[in-house]
């Protein structure tokens, strides 16, 4: 009967059994908050340039912010947006509470209950495909869409003033089936199967309360966080060279101060965009044009005004032809904070591929995910990019969602609990 014991390995995933678990992970498992891996600003531990050890387990409870935002970006991600099918506020609370508890288990490398129940007629609560895998630095981030604050749940007065559906933006070609959502989950891990398992089980738990609306599987990080080498997107260019990396910038541009809604203090807003790339066209473009589109060199990633990746772009510098070395319609010129009143957002993107599309073209691109303390920051930047970015010739925004991301829960609580109190 009592088949859920820790000793038989059914309930615990392998990494939790002890051997080979690094001290860092043990610290996290023991509930010691603020370990080096849990923070992006851990001055006492150098963040690895590429990935973290498989035994890494990030704590879920008792952090200032949810994981998966300032956490060193993992290699793989699954993003899923959900429609709430329940109209009962209690149903929403139970879902958020059960999701939170399950995520806490998954981040520790544990299963959700028994993979192999002892009763023959029991249906396993955990699907099992991550049973032998380590925590792999998993983080799952819960977001609340604008629909949470509509007439269904009686939470209209809890809606932050700056939050709502994104307006229509220039150059976008949104597919309704890839747009919107009442809830979002972003699962990131060093092992794609660990991230997939989390989303699969969480989606299953949601059945009857929420249903998956759209999802994107991201492989290969396509943004650089603090201390990380700059990865490349599928266009072959480095992405995220000038991303937010300092705590000061996180405080200024990412974390919500809770001024209008106390439950959002320490939270942030998440913007997710599925960006299709016209891969075949891009691959037939000559190198000088590719570089002019981005405003950077391809190999080094240097701004066209400089020689090295981290040289500060000089938008005033002229080339031999008397034109700006970095074209005014290049992606870098349009997106730079120098040209946007100092505006910055935290990008945390991934490459994706969905095989071939119905027209016989490669279906791939960028799962763009960004965090900011005011969704208007994205609207401002994307409006400008959508109007004149030369990159628009080679990309299309086909999916979109915006979500309010509450802070991490204290022990004994769940994500968003303060919203209901």
């Amino acid at each position: 009967m009592n088949g859920y014991s820790h000793d038989d390995g059914r309930f615990s995933r392998r990494a939790f059994l002890g051997a080979g678990v690094g001290g860092l992970a043990v610290g996290a498992l023991a509930g010691v908050g603020g370990t080096a891996w849990a923070r992006s600003d851990g001055a006492d531990a150098p963040a690895p340039s590429d990935g973290v050890p498989p035994a890494t387990a990030y704590p879920f409870y008792g952090q200032a912010h949810q994981g998966g935002i300032a956490t060193p970006q993992q290699r793989h991600a699954i993003f899923a947006a959900y429609d709430l099918t329940t109209t009962d506020p209690r149903g929403l609370q139970v879902l958020l509470a059960r999701w939170s508890a399950a995520i806490a288990q998954f981040q520790r490398g544990r299963s959700l209950g028994a993979v192999e129940p002892t009763r023959a007629s029991a249906v396993p609560t955990d699907t099992g495909e991550a049973a032998d895998l380590e925590p792999s630095g998993l983080t799952v981030t819960i977001g609340l869409g604008p629909g949470v604050f509509d007439e269904r749940f009686g939470l209209a007065d809890r809606k932050p003033a700056r939050f709502g559906p994104l307006p229509a933006l220039p150059s976008e070609r949104l597919d309704p089936k890839l747009t919107g959502g009442d809830l979002s989950l972003q699962a990131c891990a060093e092992d794609p199967q660990v991230a997939y398992h989390a989303i699969r089980v969480l989606s299953r738990m949601a059945q009857g309360s929420a249903a998956v609306r759209w999802t994107v599987m991201g492989f290969g990080r396509a943004s650089a966080g603090k201390g990380q080498s700059t990865p490349r997107n599928l266009m072959g260019f480095k992405d995220g060279t000038r991303n937010i990396k300092s705590d000061a910038d996180l405080a200024q541009f990412v974390w919500h101060d809770g001024a209008d809604q106390a439950w959002m203090k320490g939270g942030t807003y998440q913007v997710a965009r599925k960006i299709q790339m016209n891969i075949e066209n891009w691959d037939s473009d000559f190198i000088a044009d590719q570089q002019a589109v981005f405003g950077r060199t391809k190999q080094e990633g240097a701004p066209l005004s400089g020689a090295h990746e981290f040289d500060v772009p000089d938008f005033a510098k002229k080339g031999a032809d008397g034109e700006p070395a970095i074209p005014a319609t290049s992606h870098v010129a349009l997106a730079a904070h120098e040209n946007n009143g100092g505006l910055k957002i935290l990008r945390r993107s991934y490459n994706f591929t969905d095989g071939m599309n119905a027209d016989g073209q490669i279906n791939a691109g960028l799962l763009f995910i960004a965090y900011m303390n005011d969704p208007a920051a994205f609207v401002t930047l994307q409006t400008k990019l959508g109007q004149s970015d030369r990159l628009n010739e080679y990309i299309a925004h086909v999916g979109s969602g915006v979500f309010a991301v509450p802070p991490a829960p204290a022990s004994g609580s769940y994500v968003g609990e303060a919203l209901f109190s």
């Binding site: 023991a30 609370q93 209950g113 059945q207 009857g208």
Partner: protein
């Protein structure tokens, strides 16, 4: 003939082990309660009202634990109030007597309000089971005898339900024999319109009980030989065609009536063979008896049919009557659930209410497609309709599958 048949079971049928009624214990009430109950004083209350036991789930110092305010109470009603303080690992608790569930609570996540359940307990050595806790079983002792005799054990209520369900299955088989007989008549008469109508009328009966009767193999055939598999001979379709055995049964008739849109000698042969095989099925199924978990597993099986074959449009490839057969699957599943419901309400009223609400949601969704002007009474499941509406219907079924998947374990372990 019957001596050599055997039933192929696609699902694990558990040995119920129902022998021996385990003392007089009845679950008298269970349900959600607000914070008010959570403040009840811990400890046993020997006289007047129910004894109170507070159950606290914690993860203090990283160890998930299940703590009871009292581990011994006098016989009589006992109210357990469960609070998940901070254990992410424990999300359900059960009170067990000799490995059978006396009471339980699920969905216990940190941060949610306390919940309670009450059971009238006779003396005995019980176990309080908290899967996920480091020490997942706490011994729980009840002393003395309960004052009041309980009224009707859960098992006897469930037994009434399974008997009623057996009658339902027989009634559907009888109706199918009549319906297929009418189909054969119309086919023999060469009347295409009448045959199409008769097909639509005959179709739902098998769909209501399919998961109970799809395991019969004709005498003298191996289980792997489709030419002796009654389900194949009655309900095979293009996607399950075994080239060695060929086309048979109701979908072979469907293919001719709705695909070729003509009746020929082959159609008549299919219809005649179908009538024979349906009669054989009725004969073979006469002695079928059901355990409570068979009903739950059967209902789950019918919903799997919906997801796998109806929503995909695969089942009624030629007639597009998928929504009518979808409705048949749902109706059959609901009948099985209805026969379990009185027992399940004693075991886990929350779950019973969830399943009931999800059945209502499915039926409300399905109702939008009702159209009496169409053969079968529902909109035709054309590729165009499927493209726009499949996700909505699939979601509704998923919402039902999730709570329904828990029912078998409950009724199999009911006392």
């Amino acid at each position: 003939m019957q001596s050599s048949l055997f039933l192929r079971s696609r699902r694990v049928r558990t040995v119920a082990g129902l022998a021996g009624v385990l003392g007089a214990v009845a679950l008298v009430a269970a349900g959600c309660s607000g914070d008010g109950d959570a403040t009840a004083k811990p400890g046993a209350t020997p006289s007047g009202g129910a004894s109170k036991v507070d159950v606290t789930l914690t993860a203090a110092s990283g160890t998930d634990a299940c703590e009871l305010s009292s581990t011994s109470v006098p016989a009589g009603p006992v109210t357990f109030t469960v609070t998940n303080k901070d254990s992410a690992a424990i999300n359900e608790v059960e009170l067990l007597l000799n490995n059978r569930i006396v009471g339980e609570k699920e969905n216990l996540a940190p941060g949610l309000a306390a919940v309670s359940f009450t059971a009238t307990l006779d003396g005995g050595a019980y176990e309080f089971y908290c899967p996920g806790a480091e020490k997942d079983t706490v011994a729980f002792t009840v002393t003395g005898q309960a004052a009041a005799a309980p009224t009707g054990s859960v098992q006897s209520i469930l037994a009434d339900g399974t008997a009623a369900y057996g009658t339902f299955v027989q009634s559907q088989l009888a109706a199918m024999v009549v319906g297929v007989g009418n189909l054969k008549k119309a086919v023999d008469a060469g009347d295409l319109a009448a045959a199409q109508q008769a097909y639509a009328t005959a179709r739902p009966f098998y769909e209501k009980i399919e998961s109970d009767v799809d395991g019969f193999v004709l005498p003298g055939f191996k289980a792997t030989d489709n030419s002796g598999n009654l389900d194949y001979l009655i309900d095979m379709r293009a996607s399950s065609l075994d080239p060695a055995v060929g086309w048979h049964g109701i979908h072979a008739v469907e293919r001719d009536l709705f695909g070729k849109k003509k009746i020929d000698a082959g159609t008549k042969k299919y219809a005649a063979e179908l009538a024979t095989n349906v009669a054989k099925l009725q004969d073979l199924a006469k002695g079928l008896e059901f355990k409570p978990e068979d009903l739950a597993n059967g209902a789950a099986g019918l919903l799997e049919e919906v997801q796998a074959n109806k929503i995909t449009g695969e089942e009624e490839k030629y007639s597009h009557l998928d929504l009518a057969t979808f409705a048949g699957n749902v109706e059959g599943a609901e009948q099985a659930f209805a026969d379990l419901q009185p027992g399940l309400e004693k075991i886990d009223p929350d779950l019973a209410a969830q399943v009931s609400a999800q059945f209502d949601a499915v039926k409300t969704t399905l109702k939008k497609y009702q159209d009496s002007s169409v053969l079968g009474g529902y909109a035709l499941w054309t590729p165009e309709l499927r493209k726009t509406d499949a996700a909505t219907l699939s979601r509704a079924i998923q919402g039902l599958q999730q709570p329904l998947s828990k029912v078998a374990e409950k009724v199999a372990t009911a006392r």
